[in-house]
């Protein structure tokens, strides 16, 4: 290498760095889960946020297709909640409805703004799956989560975006307790075989 000009040496040294930067900057941001039952790789495309390309994981869980002892994959699926939270975005399913849900339920959580409320809802979803809080996946794919200790209820689309988030009140749902309200929610738990 001694016969190479100094400028060429510098270029050769910088080449790996340039390749690394190109890959990390321009590569699409995605995460994967693998469904062994159906031999399908699931791809979460962060640029589309709501898309698991080719697969609706919520519906798959509802059908029981991920009940073959692949809890690790399920955990990886729910890790996408961490991706959402890491981005700091609100991830409310329909931005036009956020003001109404915040107006009615924001005070339940002491939220200072609609974005604060939406972020709390996404954080709750992420935490609920990490801690395996009571979860039900309805036949239509809706994922509902309840924290009985703190009386927190969240409803999410299969993509993980929030539909609603509140602290139930028997005066509204007309059941003796909030746990009764949770028990009456439709669907199956992903935590039980």
């Amino acid at each position: 290498m001694n016969f190479l000009p100094t400028l060429t040496k510098i270029r050769l040294c910088l080449l790996p760095l340039a390749v690394f930067l190109a890959v990390t900057i321009f590569a699409p941001s995605a995460t994967f889960a693998y469904d062994r039952h159906n031999q399908v790789k699931l791809t979460y495309d962060s640029s589309r946020e709501s898309a698991f390309l080719g697969y609706d994981v919520g519906s798959m869980l509802a059908r029981g297709d991920m009940e073959n002892g692949i809890a690790g994959d399920r955990v990886r699926f729910f890790k996408f909640g961490e991706l959402l939270a890491a981005k700091g975005a609100t991830h409310w399913a329909n931005p036009k409805t956020l003001a109404d849900h915040f107006g009615r339920h924001g005070a339940d959580f002491g939220a200072k703004s609609a974005d604060d409320y939406a972020r709390t809802a996404s954080d709750f979803f992420r935490r609920s799956q990490a801690e395996r809080l009571p979860t039900k996946i309805a036949p239509d794919g809706t994922i509902r989560v309840y924290d009985p200790k703190n009386n927190i209820f969240g409803s999410y689309n299969p993509s993980g975006t929030t539909k609603t988030f509140y602290k139930p009140d028997p005066a509204q749902h007309k059941l003796p307790s909030n746990l009764d309200y949770w028990n009456k929610q439709p669907g199956a738990s992903p935590w039980q075989p």
Binding site: T97, D100, T142, K163, T164, Q172, K174, Y181
Partner: protein, 92 residues
């Protein structure tokens, strides 16, 4: 009992919803932008679907007493929106 599964019209105020209030036992968990009822919460009726019509009637009475005002802060009413005319669609 009047079903609301196949008719995306609010059973309280008659507004044409862009979601289905209930799909079987699973609610939309959304609010009607017109009258504000939240399906799956306000009309849960103790988990007894046959009691929902009474809830809807009560909510409708309250909405009418309060002047049939547009509820949503994030969704605008349709151009030329007429609450009374809309209400007639479910009362006839």
């Amino acid at each position: 009992m009047a079903t609301v599964e196949s008719n995306p019209r609010c059973p309280v105020c008659g507004y044409d919803l862009d979601f289905t209030p209930w799909k079987g036992e699973s609610a939309a968990d959304e609010m009607c932008p017109c009258c504000g009822i939240q399906f799956g919460y306000d009309d849960f009726a103790g988990g007894q679907p046959e009691l929902r019509p009474r809830i809807y009637a009560q909510w409708r009475d309250k909405w009418m007493r309060e002047g049939m005002r547009w509820s949503s802060r994030g969704i605008e009413p349709p151009p030329g929106w007429n609450a009374a005319e809309q209400l007639r669609r479910i009362q006839t």
